[in-house]
Assembly symmetry: C2
Homo-oligomer: 279 residues x 2
């Protein structure tokens, strides 16, 4: 999916919501454990109940890989289901936080973007910046595919290295400065944690035009209003992720309905924000 | 495997070699493509031909994941084969370069270290440091399991961020300073690229006792002598990785025999180095 199509989705659906598909088996409704593939069954219901409002789905690979081959099978089925049933209606992000030397990142890029090789065809992948340009570039050589590069994360450990300062520039800012020229606003986004919303003003000085993927709303404590205040652009420029608050809204058989209610609440708030911004 | 057992292996096998199991389908002997699982068949022969000399095996996940579910199946079979046939005789490293917020890293740790959950039981996993302490700690809560944290990588892009300097301390040095207290020399190692062997002297000032995993020997151009000169400790303290030069030594049916010859050459050089160091 290209940038124009993504922006159109936001305008039509009146939301900039990304739903994290992180199906922890200990938290999904227990009746699903009897299904042949509980994770896929869970995802399927969540997706069917929310696809007309959600802009993006973001499966975090950890929640699939921990079940080994079976978990990977659930992951592949999930992205195939989205692509078959809701093609062009949602943006998909492989939350895998990969990154390795060039020839190895090339293999990871095939994993995410080459369905003939891996069975998977995501629109975007999250990538860790530590290894630098040649670890990121291979992901950028696919048409209409995106890198979502970690810059400022939403967790406590973000302070350990991301705020190290050189000549007044913090590491997360240096990552933005250096990497923004590896791609363009057409194929790169950045992860900026919502728990640090006021930092978004600093981020926008460096990347005024790029989309930002904002985790940390909900369970991690970030505020949607603050994110929009400091991070929104004239084309929105935001994908705000929520996972646990939506997908685990209920552990009963009505979990998908309850997830939709959470999503409708967020959409309502997002629609107000979009309107105020003239979008 | 604990540190004492690892050091014993080095003394007995007279090597400190780690073999990267990175089975690129375009480079493995073409007759194997007829096998039911070409990647597993390839790994099996390489492992059988080298297990008495190699200290460690390090499958890089990218080369498996790019084949989707089938590739993960080959990966799981490979680690299970090593553990069943050569248990306690080799150290195993999941080269996955993972790292995420705490509750997510916890799932990745289960992937690598909990065979009941994932089918896999590695001794160690490579982890990216960018997200800080809570992204690394979950991997350190497993008995006799190791984190191999990226510090100074062997690729060109290492210069982009790893040399950023704050008060005279470069980022890769800060990663060592900060993270060495998250674990101990009994459960943490660091990746230090061999292409920067002279930097090992700086590294040893900060972590005199930790094992270092050294990629970049061979195809990437690093020198074994230089690595030993600057990085070796009284207990060796090194695992030197080679992948392509060993596993792709031949594309013919004799590939495992040719791989063994490469390994014997490296062992000979390593044995000389170990003897000179009184090990």
């Amino acid at each position: 999916m290209n940038r124009e199509e993504l922006i159109n989705l936001i305008k039509i659906k009146r939301s900039f919501l990304c739903i994290g598909l992180d199906p922890d088996l200990s938290k999904i409704p227990q009746h699903l454990l009897k299904a042949e593939d509980p994770i896929f069954a869970f995802n399927q219901e969540i997706i069917d109940a929310t696809h007309d409002i959600a802009i993006a789905y973001k499966p975090n690979f950890a929640f699939y890989e921990c079940h080994g081959v079976k978990g990977w099978h659930s992951l592949v089925k999930t992205i195939q289901y989205i692509n078959q049933k809701y093609s062009d209606q949602v943006f998909t992000i492989a939350d895998a936080k990969r990154g390795d030397i060039g020839n190895t990142s090339q293999q990871y890029a095939r994993t995410m973007f080459d369905p003939v090789s891996s069975g998977m065809d995501f629109d975007a992948v999250t990538v860790a910046p530590y290894m630098g340009e040649d670890s990121v570039k291979p992901f950028l050589s696919f048409q209409n595919k995106w890198v979502v590069l970690l810059a400022l994360t939403s967790n406590k450990g973000a302070v350990d290295f991301q705020f190290i300062t050189n000549n007044g520039v913090r590491l997360f800012e240096q990552v933005l400065h250096t990497s923004k020229d590896w791609g363009t606003p057409e194929n790169m986004m950045f992860v900026i944690g919502a728990t640090q919303a006021e930092r978004l003003a600093d981020v926008r000085k460096i990347v005024p035009d790029h989309f930002l993927l904002i985790p940390g709303i909900g369970a991690q404590g970030g505020s949607l209003q603050a994110v929009a205040k400091y991070g929104m652009t004239p084309e929105c420029g935001l994908l705000v992720n929520s996972s646990r608050n939506i997908i685990f809204a209920s552990q009963e058989k009505d979990f998908a309905k309850k997830a939709r209610l959470e999503v409708l609440n967020l959409q309502s708030e997002m629609n107000t924000i979009l309107k105020s911004a003239g979008i």
